[in-house]
Symmetry: C2
Subunit: 492 residues, 2 copies
C-alpha cells in the first residue's frame, strides 16, 4: 500500500510530519523488562507490550509460575522468564474470591469503614506472603539475576500492585517506570510519588466520593485518607524491613518507589475529577481501546446449561468480543461490574452504563461515571430484577445518559496524542535519556515536616511571638516609668 | 512537491498518521479574538497567531492606539481593531524605563525586598490607570462592542498581564484562554487558577530561589509569597470594584480570571523546576523557536557612532536575526539580559549563557539557568569588563556549561508534541467544545478556608477535644466514687 499526499496543498501537515520524522529517527530499538500484575492489570499492560514490539523493542516478562492470564505463548515475540513459586493458580483464585467477598460483605460505607479496613488489614498479610515469594524468586535466584544482567535492559516497566519490580530495577542498575490505576487513598502516589491531594476536593480512593462534597462528605473524605494512611503505613513497615535487607542499607519502601521515573496512571480527565498532579505523572487511561471491528456471525462460544427461566431474547456466551460489541451502533447500554478496562471501552464508544460494582476500584469507578451522568448504579447485595430493569430503562430512555457518555467519548478522542502513544513515548524517553530526572520534583528531598513548611511556620510564629513579647515588655516598662513619673509629679 | 511514503514498510506510522488525519478532520475554521500585551509578550503571541492563520482561522487583535510592536500591517491577514486611548508610545516607553530603573536600584534581595515592593506598589497605580483606559476603550465603546458581537468569535486568547480580556470575553459570551509567563509569586495562578505551590520546594516568582533551598531560603521564600500576596491583594481591591461595576454584580478579579478554560504557561520542564500543576495548565515554553536559517552575508544594519575604545574584533548591529545566530554551529555563548524569549532560543539551540538580568522575570530566568548549570550571572550594578570577560571565559572553557545547555536542548526537542502545536491544539479544543470544563478543578467552588480543610480540621479537633474531655470527666467521676468507697471501706 502506498500513501500519496500532496503536502503543498495542506500546509498544516508539514510541521507535524517533520516533527514525527524527527521523533522516529531518535527512537532506538531497546530491551524492556516487564514486572506485571496478573488479572485485568495484565490485560491492560499487554497493549503496551504489543506497541513496544511494534516499535522494534525486545520485551521480556518476569512472570511467576502460577498465573491466570500471563501465558507464555510459544508464537509470541515476548520472552518469558518464569519465577518459580510454591503457590498455584488455585491459591490466586481463592485470594481473589476472598477479596470479592470481603468487599461485598463489608463495603466501605461510613458505618462499615473500620470493620472493612480491619478485615482488609488481615487480608494484606496473605498478599504480603505471596508477594515476598515472587520477590525472593528473582532476588535470591543468582542464575536468573545473572541472565537478566546479561539482557542489557534499558528500562523496567512495573505494575506496583505487585511490589519488588523497583528492587529488581535497582539491582540491575536500570531506570523504571510504573503503570498504575490507583493505590488505596492514593497512599503510594501521595507519599512516594509526592502528588498533592487536597482532601477538600480530591476524593480518597475507595471512598466513592466525588469532587463536589458537602461538609459531612469532606469530613468522611479526610477520615478516609487518615484511616487508609494508618492501615498502609503499618503494612509498609514490613516492606521497609524487607527493602532495607535486600539493599543492605536502611531504606523505606517509599524511598525506593519514589525513584520511579514516570508514573503512567490508567485514567484520564474523561474519567478523573480534575486534580493537581506532577510533571512525571502521565494519565493514559483507555490506552487499550480500539475502534470496533464488525461483529462476526459464528464466532462466539456457548458453554454451560441454559437456565430454564431465561427469556427467549437472551443469549448466553462464554466469551464475547466486548470492545467490538460496545462499538456496535445498535448497542444501547452496558451492564458492567465496573472494572477500569470495561469502563474505558464504554467511554471510548460512548455507551451509557448500569454499574453493579463488586470490589477494589469498581465502586469508585461507578461513582465517577454516576457523577458524570453516564451511569446508574445497582447494589449487588440488595438488587432485585426490578432494580436492574429500572436502571437499564433509565440509561436507555433518559437521553441525558447517552449524551453524557457521548460527551466523555468526545473528550477521550480529542487529545493531542493518543494514550497508548503517550505511554510508549515516555517509556522510550526514559530509554533514550536513561531516566527523566528533569521531571522529578524536589519534594523527594524533604521530610513531611519540611514539605508542609511546619519548621518555617514554627520559626515565623516564634519570631512573631518574640516580637509581641518584646513590644509588650517595652510598653509595660514605659508605662511603669511613665506611671512613676506621673505619680511623682502628682505628689510634687 | 509530492511526498511519497510506503507505509507498509513502516508500521509505526500507521496509527500516528490515522490519528493526525482524524484530528485534522475535526479542526474547524473559526474566529479568534486576541487581547495582547505589548513588547516581548506580543512577539511571543504573534507565533500563535501565525499558526492559527495557517490553520485557516480568522484572527482579530484588539490593540490600543499606542503600541510598541503591535503594528497593523496592511498586508497581514490579521484584522486589527484599534482601541482609542489618550496615552502614547512615549508614555509606555517611560513606564518601561521606570520599571527597569526600579529593579536595578531596588533588586529584591532579602535586604531590599520591602523597599522594592513599596516602590512597586506605587508603580502599580500608573499601570492600573493605563490598563483601565484600555478596558474602558472597549467596554464603554458600544460601536466596537457591537462589531465584536457581530464577529461571532469562538474564543478569546488573552495575555492577563493586561487585564480586562476576560471581561471582554464574558461580555461577548465566549470562552477564553490565557497565555502567561508568570505573575508575581504566582499570585494569579495560585489564587485564581488554583494551582498548588508548596513553599517548601516551589520558589516564589521574583525570589531568584531554586527548588533546592536551605532552611533560611525556605523562610525567605515563604516571606516572598506572603509579602507579594499582600501587595497584590491590595492592588486587586481596585480591580475587584471595577470588575463588579462592569458585570453589575458583586464579583472579584480572581473569580472572573478563574473562568479561564486553559492556562498556556510560557515555560516547560527544560526551564522550570518540576512542580505540581493542574490539567488545565499547559506548559508551552519555547513555542516561538524554529530551526536556524543560514546567516545572510549583508543583511544586518549598522547604526550609530562606533565607540573609539571598541576592539577590532567587535561589530555593532542595530538588529540581528538572533535565532539564526544562536543556531549557527560556531556560536559559543550568548550574552543576554535574560528575557524568556531569548533564553528559550538559547535552550533550543543548546547555547550556554552569560546573564546580565535587568528586570521583571529576567533575574529569575537567569537563576533557573544557573541552577541547571547552563549560565553564569553578572550583576549589572557592580560588573566590570573583567567580570564579563571571566564569565564569558567560564561558559566557553568549562565544558559543563555546553553539556548542560545541550541537555536542556535535548529535553526541549524530545516532547510528544511541539509546544506551538500543543498551544494551538488547546485553543482549538476550546473552540470545538465551547470550553474545557472537564479540566476545571472543583477547587474553584471552595473558599480558601474550605480549600485548606480548616473547617474539617477544626471540627475533628473539636471532636477529639470533646472525647478527651468526656473520658477525663468519666475517669475523674469514677476515681472520686472509687475514692469515696475506698475511704468508706477504710473507715469501716
Amino acid at each position: 500500500m502506498v500513501f500519496v499526499m500532496d503536502i503543498t496543498k495542506s500546509k498544516k501537515f508539514v510541521p507535524l510530519l517533520v516533527f514525527i520524522l524527527t521523533l522516529t529517527e531518535i527512537v532506538l530499538s531497546g530491551n524492556v523488562l516487564i514486572w506485571p500484575t496478573d488479572g485485568s492489570h495484565w490485560l491492560n499492560m499487554e497493549f503496551i507490550l504489543e506497541e513496544l514490539i511494534q516499535r522494534n523493542h525486545n520485551v521480556t516478562v518476569l512472570a511467576s509460575s502460577a498465573t491466570l492470564f500471563i501465558n507464555s505463548n510459544p508464537d509470541s515475540p515476548v520472552n518469558f522468564e518464569v519465577i518459580p513459586i510454591s503457590y498455584n493458580r488455585r491459591n490466586i483464585d481463592s485470594v481473589i474470591e476472598h477479596m470479592i467477598m470481603l468487599w461485598i460483605d463489608h463495603r466501605p460505607t461510613p458505618l462499615t469503614l473500620w470493620t472493612f479496613f480491619k478485615e482488609l488489614g488481615r487480608f494484606l498479610d496473605t498478599i504480603f506472603q505471596m508477594n515476598i515469594q515472587t520477590c525472593e524468586g528473582v532476588l535470591n535466584n543468582t542464575k536468573l539475576l545473572a541472565r537478566l544482567q546479561e539482557g542489557a535492559f534499558n528500562v523496567l516497566l512495573a505494575d506496583p500492585v505487585t511490589l519488588c519490580g523497583d528492587l529488581v530495577a535497582l539491582k540491575l542498575g536500570i531506570p523504571f517506570v510504573y503503570t498504575l490505576r490507583f493505590s488505596p487513598a492514593s497512599t503510594v502516589e501521595r507519599h512516594c510519588g509526592k502528588i498533592p491531594a487536597p482532601a477538600s476536593y480530591v476524593p480518597a480512593a475507595l471512598s466513592e466520593l466525588t469532587d463536589q462534597m458537602t461538609f459531612g462528605e469532606r469530613v468522611k473524605n479526610t477520615i478516609s485518607y487518615l484511616l487508609q494512611d494508618y492501615i498502609f503505613q503499618s503494612y509498609w513497615r514490613e516492606w521497609n524491613s524487607y527493602y532495607s535487607k535486600v539493599l543492605g542499607r536502611p531504606t523505606t519502601l517509599c524511598e525506593v518507589m519514589g525513584k520511579a521515573e514516570i508514573w503512567l496512571i490508567r485514567t484520564y480527565w474523561d474519567f478523573e475529577f480534575p486534580r493537581p498532579y506532577l510533571p512525571n505523572f502521565e494519565f493514559v487511561g483507555g490506552l487499550h481501546c480500539k475502534p470496533a471491528k464488525p461483529l462476526p456471525k459464528v464466532l462466539w462460544r456457548y458453554k454451560g446449561k441454559k437456565p430454564a427461566t431465561l427469556g427467549a431474547n437472551t443469549r448466553l456466551y462464554d466469551w464475547i468480543p466486548q470492545n467490538d460489541l460496545l462499538g456496535h451502533p445498535k448497542t444501547k447500554a452496558f451492564i458492567t461490574h465496573g472494572g477500569t478496562n470495561g469502563i474505558y471501552e464504554a467511554i471510548y464508544h460512548g455507551v451509557p452504563m448500569v454499574g453493579v460494582p463488586m470490589f477494589a476500584d469498581q465502586p469508585d469507578n461507578i461513582a465517577h461515571m454516576k457523577a458524570k451522568g453516564a451511569a446508574v448504579e445497582v447494589n449487588i447485595n440488595t438488587m432485585t430484577s426490578e432494580d436492574l430493569l429500572n436502571a437499564l430503562r433509565t440509561v436507555i430512555n433518559d437521553p441525558s445518559y447517552k449524551e453524557n457518555a457521548t460527551r466523555l467519548s468526545r473528550i477521550h478522542h480529542d487529545q493531542p496524542v493518543k494514550p497508548l502513544d503517550r505511554a510508549v513515548f515516555w517509556i522510550e524517553f526514559v530509554m533514550r535519556h536513561k531516566g527523566a530526572k528533569h521531571l522529578r520534583p524536589a519534594a523527594h528531598n524533604l521530610s513531611w515536616f519540611q514539605y508542609h513548611s511546619f519548621d518555617v511556620i514554627g520559626f515565623l510564629l516564634a519570631c512573631v511571638a518574640t516580637a509581641i513579647f518584646l513590644v509588650t515588655k517595652c510598653c509595660l516598662f514605659s508605662c511603669q516609668k511613665f506611671g512613676k513619673t506621673g505619680k511623682k509629679k502628682k505628689r510634687e
